[in-house]
Every structure is written in C-alpha cells, then in structure tokens.
C-alpha cells in the first residue's frame, strides 16, 4: 500500500504504543506490534485489519486526547482499514466504490430492487405477479427459475472471484509464505469463529463506552451465524430443487424454511442490535467517515433478512409477487456489493488472524527480543531477570 496521511498517523501512534505496551493484554494487535520495531506500510495494513475495533486501548490510553500525543488507535486503524479495502479491491477501477461507500451501497440496493421489479413488471403477466398463488412452482411464475439461477449464480461467482482476488492482494502485500500448517489454520479458525479478540478474551470490550460488555460480540455472532443459516437455507433449497427435483416454495417445517426463518430472525436481531450499538456508542474512538459503510452493510443485511421473512409470512397472498421481486433484488444487490462493501472486513480480518496465528507460533519458538519495560525497582534481586533484551 502507498503511504497516506492516515498511514503516517498510524505509524506515529504505533511508535508511541510500542514504547508503552500497557495494552498488550487486550488483543492480538499489541503482541503482534511488539514483534516489530519499525512498521512498513504492509505491517500497518496487517495490524489495522487485525484490530477488531473493541476500543479497549482507547479508554485505557494515557496518551489519548487531550494529551498532546492524541493517540486514538481504534479510530486511526478504522480509517486505515477503509483505505486498505480500497487498495486491495479487484478489479482496480472499482476501488472508487469504497469512497462514499454508504451512498454506493444504498444506491446499488435501491437499483437492484427497482431493476428486478421493473423487469418483473415488464415480462411477467400481471396475474402472476400480483395474483395470490400457492403450491410448488409458484415463485417461478413470478421470476422464471432459469433467470433466478443464472442471475444469482453470476452475481455470486463474480463476488467470490473479487473477494478472492482482494484476499490474495492482501496476503501478498502483508506476508510472503504459506498459509501455515493445519494446527495454525485451526487455531486461526477458532479465533475467527469465536471472535476471541472482540470479547477481550472473556473480559468484554468497550463496545459502547467506558464500561466493558460483550454486547457487540454477541450481536455479531447473531448476525454472522444468522447469515450462515440463511446461506445454508439457500444451499439446501438449491439441493432440493436441483437434486431432489422439488420446486419451491417448501413447507413450513422443511429444512430450507426452518434454516431461513431461524437465520433470518438471528440476522435481524444482530443487525438491529449492531445498528443500535453504533448509534448509542461514544463517538470519540469511532471514525465518522466510516459510519456510512458500516450502516449501509448493516441495513442491507437487515433488509435481506426482513424481506425474506416477509416473503415467508405472505407467500400465500397477493403480496408474494412484489415481495419476491424485492427480496430477490436485495439479494442480487448484496451479492454484487459483497466485494465493495464492509463485508470485505471478514476476509481481511480472517487472513490477518491467520497470519497472527503463524507469527504467534514462530515467536514462541524464538525467545529473544527486548520484551517488556522492566519495573522501576532499585537494588532488587528479582530485577536481575528483567534486564532489557532478556525474555525470561
């Protein structure tokens, strides 16, 4: 990544942090920082993406404003992450989508819904679109099966390709080498799936302000696992349709509907909760320029969940047609936006955690770096073991 103003801010902050090290108990960022004395742009990008934005280090910081040093690691790192999303985006011309990302996501969603509605209105008979229909194949009278599959698959495949390209850029930029052995990958997966560093490893985080809570971790779990359940619902539905030859809609107690309903509700709880947390939380350690992208993705996910649940609730009525078109529009927009929304944080965070899992292993094997500011004890026997350069 090229050097920017935010990069220089981050470097300055880390020079202070690395000389202080009081925060090393909070998360992975500070132990990873302590492995370095100088910070390349790639190091900064890695550390910024390793940061889960728990804000513990901000409230604990003796150098936070109004101290003249003005250290604000969560804010600086959030800004840096946003720059890194743009820097690693693929294809290159689309990096501009990370500027004014909130607006981009909102517009794309609206356009997605409008396009599907208009196309449905143009090509689908009015009786099919606005008539109450039930029974297998009802959905496909509104949007033909082939169109549905082709559009979704194309959008999804593009999104995956773009995400993979972005991930590879990040990996190349920040690290040369293998992904690590099975044990390392397993450790990283555990850190990713449990959000280990968003819970302060049991202590909680400064989600909303000075108090420690587990709120954001729990809400993120609701959102993430709700999302996975919805995804599983789509996959099982595809399996039912393509392999078993059963057309949607499926019964209330069928696997796709159960997964989708449970997942949709979790997704709603998670996204609404996270939106609430963003609104009520202390603005000091937050980056205002990032509220747009954050809110945009949360609302998009909420919209996807809500329209899905509404479709389920009203699928036997005349509202089914328009609801299906809207839900499909939202999903289509979501797929297309995946690589150009805050969704990418999941990719880079996971890769950063994988790299940290590797570094952690390597560091444990090499016990020789100046570690900790030794305490200020004079004439004390125990001080002998705390000599600089000695990592007991």
């Amino acid at each position: 990544m090229r050097t920017t103003e935010v990069m220089r801010d981050a470097r300055r902050a880390l020079d202070i942090c690395n000389a202080c090290r009081y925060c090393e108990g909070f998360c992975a960022v500070f132990p990873a920082m302590e492995l370095r004395r100088q910070f390349t742009n790639a190091d900064l990008s890695y550390l910024a993406n390793l940061c889960h934005n728990c804000k513990g280090c901000y409230y604990a910081c003796q150098y936070a404003r109004p101290h003249p040093f003005g250290v604000n690691v969560p804010k600086t790192f959030a800004e840096l992450r946003n720059e890194s999303y743009a820097a690693y985006a693929w294809p290159r011309p689309l990096t501009a989508l990370f500027r004014r990302n909130g607006l981009v996501v909102s517009l794309a969603t609206a356009l997605g819904i409008a396009a599907v509605l208009i196309l449905a209105n143009l090509f689908v008979p009015q009786t099919a679109l606005y008539g109450a229909r039930t029974g297998t194949g009802a959905f496909y009278a509104v949007i033909p099966w082939g169109v549905l599959v082709a559009l979704s698959a194309a959008a999804f495949a593009f999104a995956i390709a773009a995400l993979v390209m972005g991930g590879m850029s990040f990996w190349r930029d920040t690290e040369t080498g293998s992904l690590g052995d099975g044990r390392t990958v397993g450790a990283a997966l555990r850190d990713i799936l449990t959000l280990r560093y968003l819970g302060g490893e049991g202590h909680g985080c400064n989600d909303l302000g000075e108090r420690f809570t587990q709120a954001r971790r729990h809400l993120h779990h609701c959102m993430f696992y709700g999302f996975l359940l919805c995804f599983a619902s789509t996959c099982t539905a595809t399996f039912y349709a393509d392999v078993l030859g059963q057309d949607a809609p499926y019964g209330i107690f069928s696997l796709p509907v159960l997964l989708g309903t449970f997942g949709g509700v979790l997704l709603c709880v998670g996204t609404v909760g996270l939106i609430w947390a963003k609104i009520v939380s202390d603005p000091a350690p937050a980056a205002p320029s990032l509220l747009g992208p954050d809110f945009a993705l949360l609302f998009l996910l909420l919209l996807a969940a809500l329209t899905g649940l509404l479709l389920l609730a009203f699928r036997a009525t005349a509202a089914m047609g328009p609801l299906l078109a809207i839900h499909f529009g939202v999903i289509l927009a979501f797929f297309l936006l995946l690589p150009y929304s805050k969704f990418v944080h999941g990719i880079y965070r996971s890769l950063a955690l994988l790299r940290w899992a590797k570094e952690r292993d390597q560091d444990a094997a090499v016990p020789s770096r100046p570690e900790q500011r030794a305490p200020e004890s004079e004439n004390l026997r125990v001080a002998l073991t705390a000599a600089p350069g000695n990592r007991a």
Partner: protein, 465 residues
C-alpha cells in the same frame, strides 16, 4: 448541581487510586462521600493513570500471580530498596493487606492481565492491570459513581483548616469558583509535590527548571504543604525525589512510561562537554534507572547524551522519539550540538580502552574497559559500526518522598505525635512512611490500595460516631 453547603460524612481530597479506594470503602460503609479531583475528567486519576501494576503478597498461585510471594520476602525487598528508611509496623501491615487488595479491586471492576501473557518474570510479584493504570482508574470511577459517591472534577482543595488537631472545613476552588466544604471526616489522598517546580527549586535551584515531570501536572502538593504548615508531622527527605533518565525531548508533564530510555547500559553517556561521567555498565539497568536520573540532574544544564552504534540498535525497548543518527562521530556531534573534536577524543579514548570479551546483553557480561576514568565495567563494546546513534537524556521526576506522618489506622499525626481528630491520609501523600527512599515496582499502587481502604474504613467509623 451538587449542594456543597450540606455536611458530608467523608470528604476525599484527590482522585487517584488511593482516593478512590477510600471513597468507595467509606461509601460502602454507608457514608455520604464527596470526592474532589483537581484535574478535569480527561486527566483524572493523578499518577495512577500512568501506573501499570501492584505488588502483592500471596501464599499460592492466583489467576494473575504465579508461585508465592511471602510477607517475609516482600518485607526483605522493601527493606533493601529503602535502606531501612521505612516504618516496619506500617509497612508490614501494608504488605499483609495486599493479599486482599487484588480481589477487592477485581470485585469493583478492575481487570488484571492473566499471569501467562508477556511479563513472565514479573508475574510472581506484581499483578498487571489490563490496559494499565488508566483502565483501573476508569473502573474505580465507574464503580464509585454507581454506588453514589459524589464526584467533582476541576476542584482543587486549597486549604484544610485545622483547629486543635481537627479539620473544621476545606477551602476549595471548584470549577473556578471559591467554595467551602464541610465534612465529619477528611481523607487526604492528593499526592506529592513533584509537579510543583517552584517548590522543587527550593532544593534543586535552577536545575529544577530542566526537570521533566513524568506524571500528572496536578501533583502540586498544595494540601501537603498546607498541612505541614499547620503543624502536621512530616516524614521523608523533602530534598529527595525519585527520578529516572528519560528522553530530553519529552513533554514537561505527563510523558509517562514511553519517554523512558533504556539504552544506557549499551551506550557511553557524555555530558554537554562531551565527557563521560559515570560507569554506564555498573549493573543491570532496572537497578540503575534512578541513579541515572540523579546523575543527569547533576550535570550542567541537566542534560546528557547516550551514544552507541548500529550493533546495539535493537538491544533495548524502542522509545517514543526517533533516534538521532549519523555516519561519523563528528556528524553525530553536530546533530546533538556537541563539540565534534571533543566527542571524537572521548570516543577514541573509550574505544582504545575496551577489552576483548564475549558481549551478552542479557546479563552482566564482564566486557569492560581498562585504564579509563570512569570505567565501563560491563557491556563495553567499541563504537565502530556506523551509523552512530544518540539520544538526549534528562531527569524525569516520578514522585517526591516528603509525606505526612500517619499511624497504622491511616490517621494523620501532628508533629508532637498525637493523631488528628478527623483527618486520614492515603497514597503518595503518606507513602514516605513506607518508602523513605528508593522504589520498588508496584509499591506505590499497593500503598494506595491498602491505605485507601484503611482510611476509608476509619473515616467511616469516625463519621458514624
């Protein structure tokens, strides 16, 4: 707005760890408590906000401390650093109470680092606050507020009016307005006077103008002086302060831990005249911090320069400001503002005196000079691998030793030995009873936590009578 005309059970003066422990304890005992913090909210917490750990005795491994650290060993450590300038009865009481201090703090929201991360060699004796002292201060303020301690920031106590050994009222400047506050009992936890340059000048002369104060600028010693002026007993050498060598580019106040320079053992250190003045390799660095603070304070202009070469670059903790480097000694002299010819001569003489040996930064390696005054007795390596690197050093004051005298119930004693009727003290303002000299990591917070609680209990008991 808080009604300051009412009579409080307990008035706590100060806003650091010791003050908060006292206020919380008194409030939990059912007292109405007002805490007056001189600093604005953002800088609350006195020097506690710059601290990191608390030294606690324990009879077995805990979640944050390994092995055991007995009263005998703690006392032995304290005796060694103070050279006997400590009140054994009070000190042992403090040591025994630290066994409970951690769980008391944890129950009130303070979080500790698990013992296995990072600081292995210290986790036997010292419990580290997760995130450091400011996180501790935040937790204690949040708890104090939640149980109903009244807190006023930007409120400096100017005077505690003593009448026949009893405090009758406190003159306060609260948010810029003069106020009088009355309480049944008073707890003075308002720290030392290390940030009061005028007062330091009384003992150090103009040199004091070149000191940096590592911690809070609010430690003005106003209450301390006011009490001593009214015949309260004192303890601790008023002329002495704990000082370490820090980066001379540090801010005047509040530079905290990150300005400390740990490169001295691997350097040669010269004064403004480009001359060495003390054995840089005398002992392991943690035992020599404070000596170097005083040594630099004794140099002209209270400034010195640590010089080393690229071999030593990564042997010590990085410090906050960039190093100063050049490819030649003369070039470095130019950048540091030293006389080039003199510095070259000093380095030349030193290089010639360095004896061959196996350098090992992790222990006393015996690599020394011969025929040089002063000698360097460990880690002596030639400066011969450019770039040459330098840091400017100046004295950074941590705290002062002068204190009010207290008994084992935290009661402030008058100079004729009788306890005051309703005045208690905790924290740095009375730390000299235990630490008359030297320092032992984590004892400041230990004294504050233990005596804060004792002062709070005693004040509450007195207020109820």
């Amino acid at each position: 707005m808080l009604d300051l005309t009412r009579l409080f059970d307990v008035l706590v003066i100060g806003g650091g760890n010791a003050a908060l422990c006292a206020a919380i304890t008194a409030r939990e005992a059912g007292c109405s408590v007002l805490l007056l913090e001189h600093a604005p909210r953002a800088f609350r917490g006195g020097n506690s906000r710059h601290t990191r750990n608390l030294r606690a005795m324990h009879r077995g491994p805990t979640s944050v401390l390994t092995e055991t650290y007995t009263e005998a060993e703690y006392w032995d450590d304290l005796l060694r650093v103070t050279g006997g300038q400590t009140d054994e009865h009070v000190a042992r009481l403090m040591i025994r109470d630290t066994a409970e201090a951690l769980s008391w703090l944890a129950a009130r929201g303070v979080r500790f680092q698990p013992s296995l991360t990072g600081t292995l060699n210290l986790s036997r004796t010292n419990a580290f606050f997760l995130g450091g002292g400011k996180a501790l201060v935040n937790a204690l303020y949040a708890h104090a507020q939640s149980i109903g301690v009244e807190i006023l920031y930007d409120s400096e106590v100017l005077e505690l009016k003593l009448d026949d050994g009893a405090v009758v009222e406190a003159a306060v400047s609260s948010k810029g307005f003069p106020e009088t506050v009355r309480a049944r009992t008073y707890v003075a936890s308002s720290g030392g006077f290390q940030a009061n340059i005028t007062w330091l000048r009384e003992y150090w002369g103009e040199a004091a103008d070149n000191f940096r104060i590592r911690g809070t600028p609010y430690a003005q010693g106003r209450v301390l002086k006011n009490l001593l002026d009214q015949g309260v007993g004192s303890i601790g050498d008023p002329t002495q302060c704990h000082a370490v060598a820090i980066d001379a580019r540090a801010p005047k106040f509040d530079g905290g831990i990150c300005t400390r320079l740990d490169c001295v053992p691997f350097s040669i250190v010269v004064n403004r005249n480009a001359e060495r003045f003390y054995d840089e390799g005398e002992d392991v660095w943690p035992k020599r911090y404070a000596i170097w603070g005083r040594l630099v304070a004794a140099q002209e202009g209270q400034i010195a320069y640590a010089l080393f070469d690229s071999k030593c670059e990564t042997l010590f903790m990085p410090s906050v400001f960039p190093d100063i480097r050049a490819d030649t000694i003369a070039g470095l002299a130019g950048k540091l503002g030293l006389d080039a010819a003199r510095l070259e001569a000093t380095v030349h003489a030193y290089n010639d005196a360095v004896q061959p040996g196996r350098f090992d930064g992790s222990k006393l390696d015996g690599c020394h000079t011969e025929g040089l005054t002063p000698p360097k007795t460990n880690w002596a390596q030639k400066l011969d691998a450019p770039p040459y690197i330098g840091y400017p050093l100046c004295p950074g004051i941590t705290f002062t030793y002068l204190s009010v005298k207290v008994d084992d119930r935290a009661r402030v004693l008058m100079d004729y030995g009788r306890p005051t009727a309703n005045l208690f003290a905790s924290g740095e303002i009375m730390a000299g009873n235990i630490l008359g000299k030297g320092y032992c990591a984590g004892t400041g917070m230990a004294i504050g936590s233990v005596f804060g609680r004792i002062a709070g209990q005693e004040a509450a008991r007195h207020a109820h009578n």
